[in-house]
């Protein structure tokens, strides 16, 4: 018997939840004032709900189908898994997107799919959904399409005209890992797809001769996802791969997804608790690389095994390993050094640079800017404050480590 829409929605959203990306930001600003249709995107994304896993729900994240001819060990939809299978028609996806959007549940659609028949057939269906939303229904909300490996360049090009973001998952940090766990996927093919997309995005951003305006093509760029903890790669390898992806393909984001146990899991993989802290540290390190001027080598050199310290955030770990560079005078230090102080974020640094033009800053002023003194005080000097010997104290690390949990007697 055919499953109801609700039953299929349950299956196909359950199947989509292992993709971490849910962003709806970074695209062009647009609304429906003039088109008279439905939808807008205004700079920053909006998270319309949060699930008890703490993740934001911004988009309707579903699979077109969870039938798949690939057998990737880490994936809930792999062909050898016994999960229930279902598929939507393109019309159903369009309907769900619009009805959810009208009720302000979502910012738009994030559509992915298992691979049915061929890559091109699957991609064609996805492009059709995006086209209908945009042209038939005048929908101006956010659309993120997952591109299918090996889909024809023409389909990708058409997808880029309707979608805000395209993404293709690198899945695992090394080619060896992909060969081992996703035997049908070709890492080189994935890199080529990203490279082609970067070239197309750059080509579209060149003003044409006829019009000074740039063509809109994948305005929110491309992103990817790496699974953390399924293979043996250490954090240095993972972050090295990220750095390469950012540099090579101009990715907006690399998402890290702690490998999470899936129903009917492959025996190749251990059923472990997802390494959530590790995932969190990787995101912090990723930020240090992109916004704080750190090299990957610097971030991962604090420990011997190339893995990030799970007890301390990577900036604090780096600072503790480089105490000779501290304390830093917040009234004089250049921006690059302020960014390296544990506890100072980019916003606090901007505020300090602005505020110190008018008066010499004291530690209390930092507190008023929302900076945690507990963290920062050992690493800075300010008007009326010198870190003194704090930076050289042997128990400095212990002050930041999480308190050991007392064992209970039972």
């Amino acid at each position: 018997m055919k499953k109801s829409l609700k039953e299929r929605l349950a299956i196909l959203s359950d199947a989509a939840k292992y993709d971490a990306s849910c962003a709806s930001s970074g695209t062009t600003r647009r609304d429906s004032s003039r088109s008279g249709g439905l939808g807008s995107t205004e700079g920053s994304g909006i998270c319309h709900a949060y699930a008890p896993d703490g993740r934001c729900i911004s988009l309707l994240k579903i699979l077109l189908t969870n039938f798949c001819i690939y057998d990737c060990a880490y994936c809930i939809n792999r062909s050898s898994s016994n999960v229930e299978r279902a598929r939507f028609t393109p019309e159903e996806v369009v309907w769900l997107t619009l009805e959810f959007y009208r009720r302000n549940y979502i910012e738009g659609l994030f559509l992915s799919s298992g691979i049915i028949r061929s890559s091109d057939h699957t991609m064609e269906q996805m492009v059709r959904i995006a086209r209908e939303l945009r042209t038939t229904h005048n929908f101006r909300g956010y659309i993120h399409l997952k591109t299918i490996p090996d889909a024809s360049p023409l389909l990708i090009e058409e997808a880029g005209l309707y979608a805000d973001r395209l993404s293709i998952n690198i899945e695992l940090p090394t080619d060896h890992g992909v060969q081992q766990f996703a035997p049908e996927k070709k890492p080189a093919g994935i890199r080529q797809a990203m490279g082609n997309l970067r070239l197309k995005i750059e080509e579209a951003s060149e003003p044409t001769l006829q019009k000074k305006r740039r063509r809109t093509f994948v305005p929110a760029g491309q992103s990817t996802q790496m699974i953390v903890g399924a293979d043996g790669a250490n954090d240095a390898t993972i972050l090295g791969t990220s750095a390469r992806l950012y540099g090579s393909y101009g990715l907006r984001r690399v998402y890290y997804s702690a490998f999470s146990p899936i129903p009917d899991a492959s025996s190749k993989l251990p059923l472990i608790k997802p390494p959530l802290v590790r995932e969190h540290r990787l995101y912090q390190a990723d930020w240090l690389y992109r916004f704080y001027g750190f090299d990957i080598g610097e971030i991962t050199s604090a420990t011997a095994d190339g893995n990030l310290d799970l007890d301390l955030d990577p900036k604090l770990a780096w600072a503790l390993a480089h105490r000779d560079r501290f304390p830093i005078d917040i009234n004089r230090a250049p921006k690059e050094m302020l960014l390296r102080v544990p506890g100072l974020g980019t916003k606090a640094v901007r505020s300090i640079l602005s505020a110190r033009l008018f008066s010499r800053l004291r530690l209390e002023d930092l507190a008023r800017l929302g900076v945690s003194l507990r963290k920062v005080q050992a690493f800075v000097s300010a008007e009326g404050w010198s870190a003194g010997g704090l930076i050289d104290r042997t128990d400095l690390r212990a002050r930041f480590e999480p308190k050991p949990e007392q064992l209970s007697l039972f």
């Binding site: 829409l5 609700k6 929605l9 349950a10 299956i11 959203s13 939840k17 609304d31 004032s33 008279g36 249709g37 439905l38 939808g39 807008s40 205004e42 909006i46 998270c47 709900a49 699930a51 008890p52 896993d53 703490g54 993740r55 934001c56 729900i57 309707l60 994240k61 001819i69 050898s80 016994n82 009805e99 009208r102 302000n104 549940y105 005048n138 080619d175 049908e184 080189a188 490279g195 970067r198 070239l199 950012y246 540099g247 090579s248 702690a258 999470s260 146990p261 899936i262 009917d264 899991a265 492959s266 059923l271 997802p274 959530l276 602005s354 033009l357 008018f358 008066s359 800053l361 008023r368």
Partner: protein, 497 residues
């Protein structure tokens, strides 16, 4: 002491008119008592007359930054907002930089109120939930929706335009205890009167709850992270929130369940797919000649460079070309496009070659190393010189290209290409610009790599070097013409120059 009574429902005009009058009369902040008009007090009662402006009152102007701040702060529900804004305004008249003093107490407080209003506004755009109601317009062209929301501050007027820009093709009403907004396709109607919560049901909420329950991953339970962003005070108007307690309670059992059910027998279609995949792999046969070589090189793993590069960038040109151009390695653009000499250095080569009449389409263009070697630096890739081992490994492909193309003249651009072709380590200057006989009866001609020209900072020197490079390529072009006239392929005459 002066008393000012305001409605205080997020209207900046009302406060601004009053503030302007008191400022003109030079009334100090500590001499004004700002009050909220409550529903019992009659308008106009017990209100002080507005003071007379001082004759020498200066024209008022405030930085645009202050207006932006005030527009947000005035929406806050804390009664101190009026006096705080007036104090800031007063201080701004003396020192226009007050707002830049980010550690100043008044500024910090104002920013705090602003932040709270912004957050509440943002949460309104996120947590308003429309429910479908019977349309007013019976033609069926416009559907109608209603939302009940309970904000902390007076933000309905502030956020209504957002909803108008977004939900244009439907009628909607957003009602709150702090005012309402309505859109009918033409006019946005605002009211600051408190509204009542209606009882409306929408069947689609059930689909949304299904989605919410299934997008949740029970193995990653992080309740605090959820409530930090979706505080409980909003839950009562969110259709999905009623599921939360049960989802949390069942999470652990669900994860244990998953562990218990691991690795069952694969479904039958899996076997079928696996068989088909094996057959598919066997079918793809290798091609011959250059095309075959290119195919083989595409999956080259002779050195570690393949891991970081996008693809093998193989040579291109006619199967039998008399001239072969060898560069160092593909760069950023070549790596993405999969073709040699298409980036900035390739453009220099193309331009100069065209100037001296050397036809690129008749030459075979390739590189000593076929994968791009680089170091990521933020959003860019910094080119790195290939090392000896990488050059030697890649000779495997270069020598086969030479065997197949059978060029009579090989142009080595740069020291890496020269080394790859000869093992020679002479300075480039010592071998540059003259034909050198090499094995196989071929002629080697050495010049600089065009990327070298791009890196010269000094303009005059750059022009000189470019001229020399042009001379070199002109010489190559001339040799090409001579090659064509010696049909036999004997190059003795040229080699003896």
């Amino acid at each position: 002491m002066w008393t000012v009574t305001l409605n205080g429902r997020g209207d900046l005009e009302e406060w601004r008119d009053a503030a302007r009058a008191y400022l003109r009369a030079n009334i100090k902040p500590e001499h004004i008592d700002w009050r909220l008009r409550d529903s019992l007090s009659l308008p106009g009662l017990a209100e002080d007359a507005v003071p007379e402006p001082k004759p020498d009152a200066p024209a008022l102007s405030v930085p645009p930054q202050f207006l932006e701040l005030a527009e947000a702060v005035i929406c806050h529900s804390d009664p101190i907002r009026f006096s705080l804004l007036y104090r800031l305004l007063w201080r701004l008249c003396e020192d226009r930089n007050v707002l830049q003093m980010l550690a100043d107490e008044d500024v910090v407080l104002a920013r705090k109120l602003e932040k709270s209003v912004r957050r509440d506004s943002h949460k309104m755009t996120a947590f308003v939930r429309f429910k479908e109601i019977a349309p007013r317009d019976l033609s069926g062209h416009r559907r109608a929706f209603f939302a009940w929301f309970e904000p902390d501050h007076f933000i309905v007027a502030r956020k209504a335009p957002f909803f108008r820009r977004r939900f244009v093709d439907m009628d909607w009403v957003i009602a709150t205890p702090k005012g309402s907004a309505a859109w009918d396709g033409e006019v946005l109607t605002l009211s600051d009167e408190p509204a009542q919560k209606p009882d409306i049901r929408d069947a689609t909420d059930d689909l949304w709850r299904t989605y919410y329950a299934n997008i949740f991953n029970p193995a990653r339970l992080k309740v605090k992270a959820m409530t930090a962003e979706m505080p409980k005070k909003y839950w009562k108007n969110l259709p999905e929130a009623e599921l939360i307690p049960q989802l949390i309670a069942d999470a652990e059992t669900k994860v244990l369940d998953m562990a218990a059910r691991q690795a069952s027998q694969p479904p039958t279609f899996h076997e079928r797919l696996q068989k088909r995949a094996v057959v598919g792999d066997a079918v793809s046969a290798a091609a011959d000649g250059l095309a075959g070589l290119q195919q083989a090189a595409a999956s080259c793993t002779l050195c570690p460079l393949h891991c970081a590069a996008t693809q093998t960038v193989f040579g291109e040109g006619p199967e039998r070309a008399e001239i072969m151009i060898v560069g160092e390695q593909p760069g950023d653009q070549e790596d993405l496009a999969g073709r040699p000499f298409v980036g900035p250095a390739g453009k220099v080569f193309d331009t100069v070659a065209a100037e001296v009449g050397l036809d690129r389409s008749r030459t075979y263009v390739t590189n000593a190393v076929k994968h791009f070697k680089y170091e990521p630096r933020g959003k860019r890739r910094i080119h790195q010189k290939p090392n000896q081992g990488e050059v030697q490994a890649c000779r495997f492909w270069l020598s086969q290209e030479i065997q197949l193309v059978q060029p009579k003249l090989i142009v080595a651009m740069g020291a890496t290409a020269y080394y790859a072709l000869t093992d020679g380590r002479e300075r480039l200057e010592d071998v540059r610009g003259r034909p050198l006989p090499i094995e196989g009866g071929r002629i080697l001609f050495v010049t600089v790599h065009p990327s070298y020209l791009l890196r010269i900072p000094d303009e005059a020197r750059k022009a000189d070097e470019l001229a020399r490079y042009r001379q070199d390529l002109a010489r190559v072009g001339q040799m090409a013409v001579e090659l064509q006239s010696t049909k036999s392929g004997s190059l003795g005459r040229l080699g003896g120059v």
